[in-house]
């Protein structure tokens, strides 16, 4: 009898069988930030690594805060994030080992094309932020503990500005959504260059301050301490970390472009 119920259970069984990994050993669970995923960089790198080694990398793309939390709880095999202070804490507390800087991109301050707060020509990011706060312009903050959010909070702190001024809006959204909101509200925001390039066509925003070195955004890959969670796929995690710092992957990172712009600069050095 082929009734609805048996069709359902057949379908379920088929899904389970196809979704099952051949062996657990081959899967590497990587927690990383939305920027590496949204920019398309991982889609570019992973197939090459997988073809060469036979591992399969499953990406969990989330904010830096949550990525490190997942790693702390032993829910993933390794992390790749961009918040040096949080990563140092993660390593110092014995959860992470072997942090390696693999690449960087930079942050930019975006704002309305007519730059109402007149931040163009500012000498530092702090100066630009101070002008935004004083001018009564709107500032859209991601407010989600992401790497970008952490960087932004450090700049406000260095500029000695309390986040109680009127135009400050913490929206608790990913980078793309935050950019759309900033564009709608014609406010300023801090963004990584990659996401901005990817969204540029949809936005009525311009780069009003180009941060250069001071707004560098370094990415690190960190392994999880096997003493904390011996059951994780440490061999695979190590293989991926080793592969990423190799000449081939570093070259691929440098040559990865979106709409003609280079998004990441490979930075690994011994």
């Amino acid at each position: 009898m082929l009734n609805l119920k048996s069709i359902f259970s057949l379908a379920l069984a088929a899904t389970l069988v196809t979704a099952m990994p051949a062996t657990a050993e081959e899967i590497i669970k990587l927690a990383t930030t939305t920027s590496t995923e949204n920019s398309g960089l991982l889609k570019n790198l992973l197939p090459k690594f997988e073809a060469e080694t036979g591992y399969k990398v499953q990406v969990i793309a989330t904010g830096t805060g949550k990525a490190l939390k997942l790693a702390r709880q032993g829910d993933v095999d390794l992390v790749m994030t961009h918040a040096p202070a949080a990563e140092a804490k993660f390593v110092n507390e014995g959860f992470g080992i072997l942090p390696r800087g693999i690449m960087e991109n930079d942050f930019v301050i975006l704002g309305p094309k007519n730059d109402p707060a007149k931040i163009r020509g500012s000498k530092t990011a702090e100066e630009a932020f101070a002008k935004i706060a004083k001018s009564g312009a709107t500032f859209i903050s991601r407010g989600d503990n992401s790497g970008t959010n952490m960087k932004e909070l450090i700049i406000w702190k260095n500029a000695d500005i309390a986040l109680t001024f009127n135009g400050y809006k913490a929206v608790g959204q990913g980078m793309g959504k935050t950019l759309l909101m900033a564009s709608e509200l014609q406010g300023y925001t801090l963004s990584d260059r990659g996401t901005f390039v990817a969204y540029k066509a949809k936005l009525d925003l311009a780069i009003d301050y180009d941060g250069g070195k001071a707004l560098a955004n370094p990415y690190q890959i960190v392994l999880i301490n096997p003493e904390k969670y011996p059951e994780l796929n440490h061999k695979g995690a190590r293989a991926f970390s080793d592969w990423l710092i190799g000449a081939e992957a570093q070259g691929m990172i440098n040559s990865y472009k979106v709409q003609g712009e280079q998004l990441f600069k490979a930075t690994y050095s011994e």
């Binding site: 989330t62 904010g63 949550k66 997942l70 989600d144 503990n145 809006k169 913490a170 929206v171 709608e184």
Partner: protein, 235 residues
Amino acid sequence: MNEGWLALIQQALGLLFSLDPDVWSIVSVSFSVSFAALAITLLPSMILGFILAFGRFRGRWFITNMIQTLQSIPTVVIGLLVYLMLTRMGPLGDLRWLFTQKGMILGQMLICAPVLVSMSQAAFTSVDRRAWETSRTLGASWFRSIWTLCRELKVPLLLAIVAGFSRILTEIGCSMMVGGNIADVTRNIPTAIALETSKGDFAQAIALGLVLLILSLVLNFTLGTLRGKAEPRSH
């Protein structure tokens, strides 16, 4: 992991009982937006429900079915619609309501109204038509007759209000899209829970979840009591 759970729930209760300003700001946004949406839609919806139940006119069947359909549309679709209307390029873009409480209220009104209309229509339909006619022939005014009906239908009408209110208080799709989850401005309970979960911070999410849980318990038990009292009279 058990210890972790216990600690989380303790933290959540701590946040609630220490009247943590973040938590209460979120709760107050949720309530003020949803109350406003309910208050604006309540009377017109009930009147429409009444007209649909008692009126005999062309298009009644069509309107009734349209409202039933609207009731089952996902809130994200209504969010999308309101977003497109309010975006800078949209027809209502000049209002600058996108990412404001006004925009959220507009969206919630559209979510709430169909529930109120169809449930009050059902309530008014259930009443004996002769009660209305008797009341009218005895010389009672329109207003007075409707008022008599409403008192008769207290429980089903309250049920309609509670259903409408809980639908908008708990919807996330429209609030997230139209409100934008801005801290202290448009961050309500559902969008805050989604955010805290995406950050991996669960204490605040649990605290807010508890507020919703307690509220729905109180509402439903109150209604249960009301219904219990109403039943013997109708038999």
